[in-house]
Symmetry: C2
Subunit: 214 residues, 2 copies
DNA sequence: GTCTATAAGACGATAGAC
DNA sequence: GTCTATCGTCTTATAGAC
């Protein structure tokens, strides 16, 4: 039971285990994204992380638990950035469009695993009623954050009213997801600035519809 | 070798085979939608169609071929309806919104297999470069059809110009996909008329942006 | 806490009877 | 043209060495 190393350990036992867990989760994200939930084997994941299946099962009860853990951690990583962009009133409208478009291009092009992983999460959730509500709650939280930002911005600009911010936030997020998927299929289908343009059209159409009611 | 039925056969041999193929494809669509491509077994599919695996393999070379066949047949089944709605100038703008929203509600709610199947197609395609282009071409064909309809409508209304109809069509389709997925996750996230509203906002914002440039 | 080895079963696909 | 039976492989998860 004694440790062979007498000098102070750099990593405690709990820390090395946490590190193993983190490495396994990272590898799992990649393998699940590349082969899908059913298509990925636990051997793939463990080996890709540099461990054995035994090590994996000492950290996670099952393949499902590993996947669900991922779903919990990797929820609104990128959406926070979008909310930040929209809430930042220092830039011009053109800057905002450019930044939103850039975000979409990044998600579709650079973080190659995110979009397929999100699709796997969605499929997993709609097939298991017990997780459907959990994922819906996650989305609602994200939407509420964006919705609040939109409402604040509208108030600052003196646009009073009955604008359905929740609906607009939902549309902005759904469009993002849809365009990311299309751009992953063929980048030429979704030009660099299409998302920014679309959000711009949406907002100006929205404020027009709102003004008309005054 | 003789048929036990002496009266003229209702189905020729080729017809029964075609019928078997059709039944297998139908069952495959359901099982793939419910369990995913990797998660579905050929036994599941054959049994669900009322045949054995041997019968399946006498009609399809492999599980992959069966899936790809599905992908080819079930492409733009619903998009044609959307194009029809947009191209139909007999109704009011309100009718158009209502019809588009209804279409989304139908796809998300009634044809329960379509959305997950589409997601499986997308995942399958982005993981296999050789099919990615085929699916992209399918999307482009659908987009072009919608784009043409939009351009015609704009011309009729005397809106000249530099409107990027391809981009608008892409946005309308991406938004549809995104909202369908959200509504499948939780119907309350996507109210009945959100899609129609969003398309309306989009178009009025678009024509505003266009007028501004004149 | 992580490894090797293995259990128990499901998988895709094939061969041969009918 | 479809069925039954089976091959070889890969799967998730566990047990015991270290």
């Amino acid at each position: 039971m004694r440790d062979e190393d007498e000098r102070p350990r750099r990593l405690t036992r709990a820390e090395t285990k946490a590190r193993t867990r983190a490495l396994l989760l990272e590898a799992a994200a990649q393998v699940f994204a590349r082969k899908g939930f059913a298509g990925a084997s636990v051997d793939d994941i463990a080996e890709s992380a540099g461990f054995s299946t035994g090590a994996l099962y000492s950290n996670f009860a099952s393949k499902d638990e590993l996947f669900v853990e991922l779903l919990s951690k990797r929820s609104g990583s990128r959406l926070a950035e979008a909310a930040e962009i929209v809430s930042d009133r220092s830039g011009s409208v053109e800057d905002e469009q450019a930044l939103l478009s850039r975000l979409l291009v990044d998600v579709a092009g650079e973080d190659m695993d995110l979009a397929p992983l999100q699709a796997e999460f969605w499929l997993y959730a709609i097939r298991r009623p017990e997780f459907q509500e959990r994922m819906a709650a996650q989305f609602r939280a994200n939407r509420d954050a964006l919705s609040t930002v939109l409402a604040d911005r509208a108030k600052e600009r003196g646009q009073s009213g009955d604008v359905p911010f929740d609906g607009v936030a939902t549309v902005v997020m759904a469009l993002f997801q849809g365009l990311v998927q299309l751009r992953r299929m063929d980048p030429e289908l979704v030009p660099e600035n299409l998302y920014g343009d679309a959000v711009h059209w949406l907002f100006s159409g929205l404020s027009a519809a709102h003004r008309a009611k005054d």
